[in-house]
Symmetry: C2
Subunit: 168 residues, 2 copies
């Protein structure tokens, strides 16, 4: 089963290494991970996507919480989040199929960010599924290079609860 963890940490050398070693000791494969600054430069936020059974993950979460530089660990409920992935993809192209590739990009609301003589680079943001669908189509032209951030996610705002309060 896939789990999405959101981990707030102090922005210090070594934190990332301690966290990733917790997962590797338990043989959890990390599907994607990213860490970036927040509005407070002392605090970074990580999003980790892992596959593994619920029980082992619970243990890992407990151990993460014990690390001194970890502020908060949350497992996100995949039905109540906005999740996004970002990819840069460079595709082979010729004069003959450049327009076709640009049209495909448009359909996926992706942006052309660089055009060279024999290649074209596309930036695309969306859910993981959307990005994978686009990659699948672009494979026909030949993908030269690809880099993805992996998922980031935040909980949706609580509209329903607020509504209930009003009705009540």
């Amino acid at each position: 089963m896939t789990h999405i963890l959101s981990v707030s940490v102090l922005n210090k050398p070594g934190v990332l290494s301690r966290i990733t070693s917790l997962f590797s000791r338990r043989n959890f494969n990390i599907d994607s991970l990213n860490v970036g600054e927040t509005e407070d430069p002392n605090i970074s936020r990580m999003t980790i996507v892992v596959r593994g059974d619920d029980k082992t993950l619970e243990q890992v979460t407990k151990q993460l919480n014990k690390l001194i530089d970890v502020i908060k660990v949350t497992e996100l409920d995949q039905n109540a989040i906005v999740d996004r992935d970002l990819a840069l993809i460079r595709i082979n192209c010729t004069r003959n199929n450049r327009t076709e590739i640009i049209q495909i990009a448009d359909t996926f609301r992706a942006k052309v960010v660089d055009v060279a003589y024999d290649s074209i680079m596309i930036e695309v943001t969306g859910t993981e599924d959307k990005i994978e669908a686009l990659i699948e189509i672009l494979k026909d032209f030949g993908i030269k290079d690809i880099v993805r951030t992996g998922i980031i996610a935040l909980n949706r705002g609580q509209v329903i609860e607020k509504k209930n309060q009003k009705i009540g």
Copy 2:
């Protein structure tokens, strides 16, 4: 000095942990890191932004290259790349300032992805500077939550070389 490393690795448990520990042993602070799948599910690609002197980085790069699961390490030339960062930001809002926030988002070509009773969520893609400028403006309203992927980057296509060949 800031360096951007692009590292292709085999998608196996433990790789990430071995790589991050190389940096932490040398006291390199990782500003941002992300790892995502490529078009080949066996290969992942990491983008690491680190600060540190050139000499130590060279040593780290050499050691990275020695790791068995590391396929390729490249330091990207920051003048010849397309780099992008993605952020999800949830901001406090009321009925009175919702429109103002949406207008700011529009100006930055950011997308509103969730609206709740007392908050609004924005998705923004761009260079690090652009995202930081937007965060700076949104701070006035009160940022509830923020998550960023950190930079991903690819080299630009080689337009100029091709041109020279043609002229020659």
